[in-house]
C-alpha cells in the first residue's frame, strides 16, 4: 500500500521547520473554523456554512507539495483550502459575514470565494461541477505551455456525479496536468460511503480511464505530502492526470444545521482521540524534540490572535454599499 510505504519512509526526513509549519497551518484552519462556527451561532454568518474541522491534513499536506502558480478549485467546504493556499483570514472571514472586506465584497459567501492572486478558482456550490472546471484550468496550462498543475478537490459524494467521469475520460485522453483529490470523509451529507458507493476505494474508478491513483491516509499530513509530491511529479512530467483518494473524516456536521443522527457520538470521538491530524504532529514535535511545550503554546497564542483579528475584522467591516448590487454582472 502506498499509504504504508509513505509512512515508513517519511519520518526520518522531515525537518523541524517543516513539521512546525504543518502544525501551524492545520491549527490555523481548525481555530478559524471553530470561530466561524461560533460566529454562525451568533447569527453573524448566514445561510450554509460547511466546516473543514478534521480534514486539515489534506489541504496542508497537498499545499506543501504544490509550487507557485499551481491552481486549485474545490467544493463549498472551502475555508481550509483558502487558508492553506495563503489567502488572508480577514478576507475569508469577512466574506463569511457578508461584508465589504470579504474576498467577493460580500457577494459570494461561504461557498463562493475566489482569489486570482493565489490561483484559487472557487469555492463552488454545485456538487461535482468543480471537477471539469479543475480539468479546464489544467487544459489552459497545457494549451499555453505552462508546466503548472491543477488540484481539483471533491468529496466522496461528488464522486458519484456523472460529470466526474466525463472529466476523467477527457483529462486522460488529453493528458491534462490535473490531480483529482477525492476527500473521502466517509459521509456525503448524511449518507455513508458504504450506502452510496459499490466500490469502497473510489480511486480505483480512475483505472478504467487509464488514470493511476492511490489511497492515502488523509489524517497524516506527511503521508499526504509524500503522495502529493508523487502526483505533482507525474503531472508535471506530462504523464496526464493522477488520483489521490484521501481517507479523511469530518468531525462536524455536513453544514451547521446538521443534527448528525447518521453516526454515533462514539465514532466521532474515537476518530478525534486516535487519528486527529493535529495531535499526530503535536506528538511528533514533542517526542522528536523538535519543539517544546512552550514553543507550541506560543504558536497556539499566535493563531488565536490571527483568528480573533479575523473575527473582529469580519464584524467591523461594513456591509457592502447598496450599489454593489449592480456591479460585477458584466465585465467591460
Amino acid at each position: 500500500m502506498a499509504t504504508k510505504s509513505a509512512k515508513s519512509a517519511k519520518k526520518p526526513n522531515v525537518s523541524s521547520e517543516e513539521l512546525m509549519e504543518h502544525y501551524r497551518q492545520m491549527l490555523l484552519i481548525r481555530r478559524f473554523e471553530e470561530k466561524a462556527g461560533q460566529l454562525y451561532g451568533m447569527g453573524l454568518i448566514g445561510g450554509f456554512c460547511h466546516l473543514y474541522i478534521g480534514q486539515e491534513a489534506v489541504v496542508v499536506g497537498l499545499e506543501a507539495a504544490a509550487d507557485e502558480g499551481d491552481k486549485r478549485v474545490t467544493s463549498y467546504r472551502d475555508h481550509g483550502h483558502m487558508l492553506a493556499c495563503g489567502m488572508d483570514p480577514n478576507g475569508v472571514m469577512a466574506e463569511l459575514t457578508g461584508r465589504e472586506g470579504g474576498y467577493s465584497k460580500g457577494k459570494g459567501g461561504s461557498m463562493h470565494m475566489f482569489s486570482k492572486e493565489k490561483h484559487f478558482y472557487g469555492g463552488h456550490g454545485i456538487v461535482g461541477a468543480q471537477v471539469p472546471i479543475g480539468a479546464g484550468l489544467a487544459f489552459a496550462d497545457k494549451y499555453l505551455g505552462n508546466d503548472r498543475v491543477s488540484f481539483a478537490y471533491f468529496g466522496d459524494g461528488a464522486a458519484n456525479q456523472g460529470q466526474v467521469y466525463e472529466t476523467f475520460n477527457m483529462a486522460s485522453l488529453w493528458e491534462l496536468p490535473v490531480i483529482f483529490v477525492i476527500e473521502n470523509n466517509q459521509y456525503a451529507m448524511g449518507t455513508s460511503v458504504q450506502r452510496a458507493s459499490k466500490t469502497p476505494d473510489i480511486y480505483t474508478r480512475g483505472l478504467g480511464f487509464g488514470i493511476p491513483g492511490e489511497a492515502v491516509d488523509g489524517m497524516d499530513v506527511l503521508a499526504v505530502k509524500a503522495a502529493g509530491e508523487k502526483a505533482v511529479a507525474h503531472c508535471r512530467a506530462g504523464k496526464g492526470p493522477y488520483i489521490l483518494e484521501m481517507k479523511t473524516y469530518r468531525y462536524r456536521g455536513h453544514s451547521m444545521s446538521d443534527p448528525a443522527k447518521y453516526r454515533t457520538r462514539d465514532e466521532v470521538q474515537k476518530m478525534r482521540e486516535e487519528r486527529d491530524c493535529i495531535e499526530q504532529v503535536r506528538d511528533m514535535l514533542l517526542t522528536g524534540r523538535h519543539a517544546s511545550e512552550d514553543e507550541l503554546k506560543a504558536i497556539d497564542k499566535d493563531i488565536k490572535a490571527i483568528v480573533n483579528e479575523s473575527a473582529e475584522f469580519a464584524k467591523t467591516s461594513p456591509e457592502p454599499a447598496l450599489d454593489e448590487l449592480w456591479t460585477d454582472i458584466y465585465a467591460d
Binding site: Q38, K107, Y121, A129, L144, E166
Partner: protein
Amino acid sequence: MATEILMPALSPTMEEGTLAKWLVKEGDTVASGDIIAEIETDKATMEFEAIDEGVVGKLLIAEGTEGVKVNTPIAIIGEAGEDMSAPAEPAATAPAAAEAPAAAPATAAAPAAPVVDSSPDYPEGTPMKTQTVREAIRDAMAEEMRRDDTVYLMGEEVAEYQGAYKVSQGMLDEFGARRVIDTPITEHGFAGIATGSSFAGLRPIVEFMTFNFAMQAIDHIINSAAKTLYMSGGQMGAPMVFRGPNGAAARVGAQHSQDYAAWYASIPGLKVVMPYSAADAKGLMKTAIRDNNPVIFLENEILYGKSSEVPDMDDFTIPFGKARTWRTGSDATIVSWGIGMTYALEAAEKLAEEGIECDVIDLRTLRPIDYDAVIASVQKTNRCVIVEEGFPVGSLANHMASAIMERAFDYLDAPVLSLTGKDVPMPYAANLEKFALITTDEVVAGVKQIAYR
C-alpha cells in the same frame, strides 16, 4: 475571564429554540469541542459544542425551556476558581439589520424618451460579397483565431468531420488540433472544461451540435460561466462563446426542436445573440468572441444555407444591443429576431401589397435588448406584434409586450400581440409540425387584427 455562552443559531432560518438538555453541570470542566447541550431547532435536535476550554460557572437557562431566542445568554464559562456570579463580559451581539433601501418614489417618473442608434453597421460604399450564414460564422471565427491565440474551438465533430453542419469547414487544416478540438459526446463535461479554461485565461468557443444538447451542460453555462464574475466580486469571469443551432429544423421531433432564446435571455451574466442575416452573423460573432463575458450565440439550421450580402472589409464588428430596422412603415411595428425574421419580412411584404406598411425590427441581440428602437417605432405606428419561434409561456414576446406597455402605453391604439410557437412539444408529422410553428400567414393575420383591417 468569564464569557457568556449564547443561544446559537443552528440553521439558516432559526430564530428561537428549545434548550432540550444540558450535558454539563455547574463546576464541570469543558474543552473545545465537548458537547455541552442539546438544542431543538425548527428542523431537528442538535448537539451544541463548547468553543473554548474552561469551567462551567452558571447555567442561566434551565433545560426544557422553550422559545429561547437566538443570542440569549444561556451559560457562563470561566477559568477555574473564578467568581462567576458577577455579570459576565458582554458577548458580541448580532449585527444591526442592513440599512433599508430607500423607498421607491411614490410617483412614477415619466418613461424616458427613446434614444435610437441608427448609425450604419459599416461605412457606405463598402464592397459587399454574397455569403451563406454558415460561411459568415466560419469566417468570423477564423478571423478572430488568427487575431488571438487564446481563442480555440471545441465541440463534437468540429475538427476532422469539419462540423456536423459544416460550420467549421477547413478550420482544422488552418489552426491544427491544438485549437480545433474534437470532444467525446459529453456536453456537461466539455462545457465545464471550457469554462474552467476561460477562468485561466483562454477564450473558448464551445460548439453544441444543437442547443437541445446544451441542456446537459446548462449547469456550467449558468452556474459556472454566467455567475462567477459576480460571485468573485469581479476577480474572474468567463470570456467565452457557446454556439450552435437552436430551435426547430425540419421533422426532427420534440427533443431536437426547442428554441432556448427566452431561457438564456433571462439570466443576468449572459449575453444572448440570435442573428438572422449573414452580415449580422459575422459581425456579431466577432463581437461575441471579443466580449469578456459568456455569450450564447443561437444559430439556426435552416438559416445556415441562406445567402445574403456581407461587407467585405477587414474588421467588421456589430455592437450588441443595437437593433436593425429592415423596412419602415407607419401602420404597425413587427418585432422579431433570428428565424422569426423570415416570417416577419414575408408578412410585411404581403401586407404592403394590401396597403399596410410596417416597421420591421430585428432585435439581433436578446441580452442586451435595444428597447429604444422598439419604443420609438411603437410611438410612431401605435401598434405592435412580436414574432417568436419559441413557446408562448414566459416568452421574450411577453417580455417585450410588457416593456412596451410600461414605456409606451399612451401611444398604443391596440393590444400588443405575442405571435409565438404553439404551446405543445414539437410533433414529427409534417402537417402537425407546420401547424405548431409560427407562420407568415399568422403574422399577416395578427397585424390585420391590431390594425383593425
